[in-house]
Structure formats: C-alpha cells, structure tokens
C-alpha cells in the first residue's frame, strides 16, 4: 500500500540520479538496490541518491544501502547522498555510512562533486 517507497532514476551520462519518495524499509531498500545494481551493470560511474522526499529510513533499509555502497566501492564507482533530514543524516553518521559515502546538502552540490574530474 502507499507508504512503500517509490524510486525513480534518471541517467545523466555516467551518473545515475535516484529520487526516493516515502519510507525506506527492507522493501524500499531492496527496490533501491535493484535499480542501483542495474545502473552499475549499465556502466554508471557515480550514483547520487536524493532522499529529500523520505522522512524515515529504518535500520534494515540502511543495512541494504550499506550493501549497495559496498558493491559501488567494489566497482570503483562512487555513491553520494543528498537531501537528508537531520535525523537521517544523524543515523547515517552513527552507522558509518557517512565514512564511505559522501553526503551533500543539495542535489546540485552532489552532482557537481561527482562530476568533478578526480
């Protein structure tokens, strides 16, 4: 039913931008993971996840995002988050996600960062 997270993705060159809408639990997390793996398979070099329409990510959802992050790192790609509420930001920091993925306030900043030549 409707609390379930909706995920939409747009490809911009080798960057894939994800927008989530709603609660990220195991189901929402798996939906994101599915899309992320398909973008990696299609050669994405960076994933930007804009969570501004998500107010809650539970610990199971985050554990799946961590799995995604690990896959991203294996492929030598990068993952950036933006649009986090203070609570989501805090939880990402507690769980260490912030040590391996970049967090930006806005989508523009995230896009600029992942597009900059390394």
């Amino acid at each position: 039913m409707s609390e379930t997270c909706k995920v939409s993705v747009e490809r911009r060159g080798d960057v894939a931008v994800f927008w989530t809408d709603g609660y990220i639990n195991n189901q929402g997390g798996e939906e994101i993971a599915r899309e992320a793996y398909s973008e990696l398979d299609r050669g994405a070099r960076a994933l930007v996840m804009n969570l501004e329409k998500t107010r809650i990510v539970n610990s199971i959802g985050i554990s799946i995002l961590i799995e995604v992050l690990e896959k991203v790192m294996e492929r030598k790609a990068v993952l950036a988050f933006c649009g986090l509420t203070p609570t989501i930001d805090k939880t990402f920091r507690i769980m260490g996600l912030a040590q391996y993925a970049a967090i930006y306030p806005t989508e523009n900043e995230a896009l600029r960062a992942v597009s900059a030549p390394a």
Binding site: T4, S63, M95
Partner: protein, 152 residues
C-alpha cells in the same frame, strides 16, 4: 505538589496524558504507529527534528518486536505519555508478549564490524539509545518492554 500526586512505582508519569495503541504484527504497521508520535509531538509542540528522532526510535522498537519477538498475540502494545508541567517530554513504552532476549548480552555494533566484517544488522537498539534521551529495556520470557523518553 498536591497530595494526590504520583504513585511510588510510576513517579514521573502519573497524571500525564496517556494514549495507548495496539498494532498488529504486519508490514508497515510501524509507520501507522509513528502517526501517533507525530500527533502527540505536535500536540506538545516538540520541534520537528526531535519528532523525527522519536519516530525512528519507535519504528526500530516496533520492527524488533515484529522480527524477533515471535509474539503469540501477534500484537505490539504501545503507550505514549506526555509529561511535565508544560508537556516537557514524550515517553513511549513498546511492549511485546514475545520470547524476550538478553538485553545485556547484545553485542554493540560499530561501523567497523558493519563494513569490514559485513555484519550490517544489529543497529536497532543502538539507534534507539542514540536518538532518545532516556532508554530502559526489560526483557524476559514474558516478553520485552522498551521505555524511552525524549525531552522537547
């Protein structure tokens, strides 16, 4: 303080407006429960970010009961109490009649275990403790009770 004051066993909560909610063990019912935390948070003028913290802590307590408690009644019982003279804190008690666990014996999580040893779960209780101001866990073969409080 008036003489009709608090009973000795529940010092800080007597007289506080109390709302009880029972939800079934079913997908997304934890989100339905957060609506109550939202409404009471707004009722007591708790800042939005703190309400969000309370909601996530409540979600974690509920999904623990859903996932680990194996309750017989298939329910999770939640009591919300607004306390203090001007609605200073919100207390949430989450109870299940499940099989309980050894709360002291739970290993603490860390980013290192999560990333290096790939043990990505085990964060729920830690998140609850990080987001709430006071947390008390009691568990036994009668089930589990998490009492958590947030000041506004």
């Amino acid at each position: 303080m008036a003489q009709h004051g608090p009973a000795p066993t529940e010092p800080a909560t007597a007289g506080a407006p109390e709302v009880s909610l029972t939800i079934p063990v079913a997908p997304e019912m934890e989100i339905v429960a957060t609506a109550q935390a939202d409404a009471l948070g707004e009722y007591m003028d708790m800042p939005r970010d703190k309400i969000d913290e309370v909601k996530l802590a409540l979600v974690e307590a509920c999904i623990n009961a859903f996932e680990h408690a194996h309750t017989e009644d298939n329910q999770v019982h939640i009591t919300f109490r607004v306390g203090g003279s001007t609605g200073d804190w919100l207390e949430i008690e989450v109870r299940d009649r499940g099989r309980g666990f050894d709360a002291e014996g739970v290993e603490s999580p860390s980013p290192q275990k999560t990333f290096e040893e790939r043990r990505r779960r085990g964060w729920g209780l830690h998140i609850i403790k990080s987001l709430m101001d006071e947390v008390e866990i009691a568990s036994g073969d009668w089930g589990t009770r998490i009492l958590m409080r947030k000041y506004k």
